[in-house]
């Protein structure tokens, strides 16, 4: 696996070349970093004096790095509501954790976004190209946002007050329980086990469900 620094170099390189139309990246002060040596060894980049060039073999890795960085930014901005000022800093750290399956799950969670909060494009991943069947991927959403016949397991409850929480507990809407939404209008009707319950929109938006197919 690439080091964090190596990922950042690939990322910067790709942005310079693909988005800013330059041929290579000026190394400046970071000339003797071990990360560059590693990347050269792997055959991802080519170094001549003060500049590095992206090679064909490194391209897909570079795209992956950019994608993860921008997904992390979206996640910070849309879901965690992180302030703009510290977004870059947090995202820079977070992106390195978004490997393997996690990357595509986050992408699905965010609804396969196409641009980052800075309006730069997010390179599409495999999941975006296959998203014809969106529901294949697990997404967490409140019961109020689901469509009729959607199924899932309750992930957590988030009521505005304890009395709302108590009501949900009393009807047995607890994390881990499987639910199916049966009706949305005029009230929300859902099935838990062998029982059906009707609740209003306010309580429905307090139940968060991890969708399953």
């Amino acid at each position: 696996m690439l080091s964090e620094r190596a990922e950042e170099i690939l990322e910067a390189l790709w942005i310079q070349i693909e988005e800013q139309g330059k041929k290579s990246l000026d190394l400046g002060a970071s000339r003797d970093e071990p990360a560059i040596e590693d990347l050269v060894k792997l055959g991802f980049i080519r170094q001549d004096k003060d500049h590095i060039h992206l090679l064909e073999k490194g391209k897909s890795h570079a795209i992956g790095c950019v994608r993860r960085h921008r997904l992390a930014e979206r996640l910070m901005a849309d879901v965690f509501d992180v302030k703009k000022k510290i977004m870059d800093e947090v995202s820079c750290k977070f992106e390195h954790l978004l490997h393997e399956g996690l990357e595509d799950n986050v992408c699905a969670l965010l609804g396969h976004p196409k641009i980052c909060p800075h309006s730069k494009p997010i390179p599409p991943g495999k999941c975006c190209l296959e998203k014809k069947d969106k529901k294949l991927l697990k997404i967490v959403a409140s019961l109020a946002e689901l469509e009729v016949k959607d199924k899932g397991q309750i992930a957590y409850l988030q009521a505005k007050d304890t009395s709302g929480m108590h009501k949900l507990i009393s009807i047995g809407a607890l994390p881990g329980i499987s639910v199916t939404l049966l009706q949305k209008f005029p009230s929300y009707v859902f099935q838990i086990g062998q029982s059906q319950f009707a609740i209003d929109k306010e309580l429905a938006s307090a139940i968060y469900v991890r969708l399953t197919k």
Binding site: K167, I171, G176, I177, S187, D200
Partner: protein, 485 residues
Amino acid sequence: MLKDFAKKIGYDDPLEIYLTKLESFLLSDYEISKHSVALLLLQEDKEILDLVKDKERQSLNEILKIIQEAKAHYSQPLTYIISLCRQREASRIANMVMSFRPAHRLSLRERFSKIMMNPFTGGPILLIILYYGLYKFVGGFGAGVLVDFLENKVFANHINPFMINLVERVIPFKLLQDLLVGEYGIITLGVRYAVAIILPIVGTFFFAFAIVEDTGYLPRLAMLVDRLFKKIGLSGRAVIPLVLGFGCDTMATMVTRTLPTKRERIIATLLLALAIPCSAQMGVILALLGDNPRGLIIWLAVIILVFLVVGFLAAKIMPGELPTFYMEIPPLRLPQFSNILRKTWTRLEWYFLEVFPLFIFASVFVWLGQITGIFSLLVRILKYPVHWIGLPDKAAVAFLFGFFRRDYGAAGLYDLKKANLLSGNQLVVACITLTLFLPCIAQLLMNVKERGLRMGIAMSVFILFSSFGTGFIVNIILTLFNVRI
């Protein structure tokens, strides 16, 4: 054995530690296991907390400290944490012994349930139930056939003549004779009224209501109307007392106890008192306007409008917690006849114990009012508002009696109609005003009992003004647009 079983539920580790600590401080005898007491303490059960405060004076501080620590350990309420553990255990057990075959096709029952809960098909179903249950069965059979038999055959031909004869022979005083068998006497008015008119109407209503209740239709109706009811400050749950109000508003007012917040209880009580006509009253109004479909439609439209407007304003004005709606939708079932009979019987029993004495009371009131001359004074005062809404002076008597029995007031109008003293317009205005007018004395007393003296009186004053106000406005509109009904 039960104690052993209780301990087998594995709660979270920290929770178990707090429980064990708590148990070691519980020294007194509680009749239930110490484990259960400790669990209830952690769930902040008020009753148990008071009991423990009383029994464990020495170690109370330690106990309270452990509860605080346990609460601080979790970011969510402990009730939630404990429920989660129980739920986990329950599913574990259930999964060991139960399995469900996935249903491939919706059963007939499920499909019917869906039709009832669909907003487009649910409306017509409600209308069918209202038409056959309320209009045909309660209105036609109860208020028509049964009342006719009991009132005109049993009471008019047998009981009344017999009692009048008996009383006049045994009691020589004219005044006491009047109290018992006079025009408004306890037996001739109070008992006759309760047994021959109200009993068959309310009885058939309770019977029909029990059938509807046992099929599981009501929660489905509640779910349909919740959105609309939120606008008038109520949740769908309130549909049950409001529908019951079509049978007997007094009983329905008592049933508002099932509503979760004070705000909902007050709004529901007000709407019951103002705009929900009880079965006895509806019976007479149908008799008054039955041959006048346009009048009936105007009456219905005005009552529905008042219901919505007053509810909407009450919801705006009233402070307090906004209603939330949650309700189990039980599977649809074919009602069991024995259950229906038992329910009807229990309600009738209640009705006789609680409401019957009020009829007697009302008769005594009328008797007192008549011999003291208070009634003729009140009738004179009532003549003014009655005049303002375009009705003849004689209608004042109907309104006064309407207070003792709302439906009796309507019956008073019936006499006026028969004597051809009212035009179509006047009849509609009178029916509207009387439907909205002060609830019968039984309901007034129930309002005071359930909502307190101040709220009960405030509601009555409001209803007095809004009923005559509505009658006044309707009369003006009808005259302005030159409508002849």
